[in-house]
Amino acid sequence: MKILTTVKKVVDVELNIHVENGAILDKGLQYVINAWDENAVEAAVQLKESHKADTTLVSLGSGDNTDIIRKCYAMGIDNAIHIDDPALAKADSPTFARVLQKVYEAGDYDLVITGKQAQDTDAGQAGIMLAQFLNIPCVSNVIKIEVTDDSHIQVSRLGDAGTEILDVTLPAVITVSDGINEPRLPAMRGIMMAKKKKINVMDLAGLGTSFEDVGGTAPTSEIVEFMPTEKRKGGQKFEGEPAEVTAKVVDLLVNEAKVL
């Protein structure tokens, strides 16, 4: 089984984000591997261990992604591709999905595993759109993957009515939730080996396509401005004798806030 996983380098959401004149300031930003993509990589590596799957990682975007790719190598990924093209800096979800389509078509994969969303955009579209473009099945928000045979997997996803168990014909795209696994901490041996592994870096031309070809020059939507989110302010905080404090707060919820 050949598995393709995707990873994105995203801003660390734990840190403060500063917005000025409609743009995010670069100051103090740090970049990390998208948490859900780490779950996708872990899922792929587990399938490699249990079913001898061959695992390839693809990272899209411009700039140096070496650190996150090395981390995935250290977790156990076999091969890595970085599509490094400055044109992708402002691409929308369908364009990313079209680039992934090109990568997929060049590699004859059986299964694509992506994180269910990226923690910078929170869009959750690229994986599902990839499947739609390829006209192959897609299951999103997956919390369990089991291999049935060479051409089928069984997955569990969290839906609105409960946990849905689906039989999926391969090739397919699966987007995973953080509930699927606990990504491993790479062992020292893996980290050392990862340093020696080659990353296949190419731009869109190297992939045999162009920005126009993947729809980048005609984006379906564009971000025109960033704005800071209005922050909630802490209100009244009560310390003291629990019975007194609790009675006071319930009174405020009833008579002031009028929500009880």
Binding site: N16, Q119, A123, G159, T169, L253
Partner: protein, 319 residues
Amino acid sequence: MTNILVVADIKQGELKGSTAELLSKARALGADTAVVAVGGQVKDLADQLAAAGSDTQFIVEDASLEIFSANPFAAAVVKAANEFNADMVWFGFSETGKAAAPRVAVQLEAACATEIIDVTIDGDAVQIIRPAIANKVLQKVKVNTPKLVAVVRAGAFEADPEIAGKENVVALDPPETDTGAKIKELISDASGEIDLTDADIVVSVGRGAKDQTGVDMVKALADDLAAGFGSSRAMVDAGLMAHNKQVGQTGKIVAPSLYIAVGISGAIQHLAGMNGSKVILAVNKDPEAPIFNVADFGIVGDLFDVVPLLKEEIKKIRA
């Protein structure tokens, strides 16, 4: 005139509140409104869908649609969108919406925007506002395509009780879709539980509750309040709460009138899922817990002391 098709949010045969919220907003924008209901038994909802503000109700009913499956669901929505000549298709914030919207957008050659909190139409120009980076920023996004498919964040719009549409039922045949992802089984959520995303009050439990006894105690408070019962990620990771109870960036986005966070310290990912709540009450024994920075009311104290007292006080006022 803009044609807005709202996808009815139906769970276990019941119409959720988000449908009326979306229809109210669509009418406030001056749009022509229609709704599409997809499922095993949805015909009987037509009058409710009209009352909620739609002027046309597309009904796609078939036994095969009883359990959600993304491909046929999306195909049914596309069919209704084409029938209505929809400029926009709006989904409520649900796993159904999140799974179907990108597929519908590709098929309609439309822009797709998830988790939007506002939309403006100025002639041909459409702009949306959506949060990003765990709700730390807002993005203003310009739509470049004639059509837009959007998933609307819970609580973004309010239903106007004065608004009503008219009944005009159009039955559509179920789409013929060959899906390579077939549902074998649905392990249904426990029946009778209050839906988190639709609840007027949500009580969530965090690490402070320690174990099952703590969880049960907080659950009893939720039951007394007829509230939705949620959780922080820590409790899901500890195996004490189900994945689908997790409130946060990765789980459920809630927007109740009152959110009660019990023993939750307030990680940024959790806050991203609940900061749309109208009023927040936090109970935590650590006076420095970040949850107090967003809570309207905070009780610094051990939840094992405070929760029974809360139950008692609420019982008094409800007596």
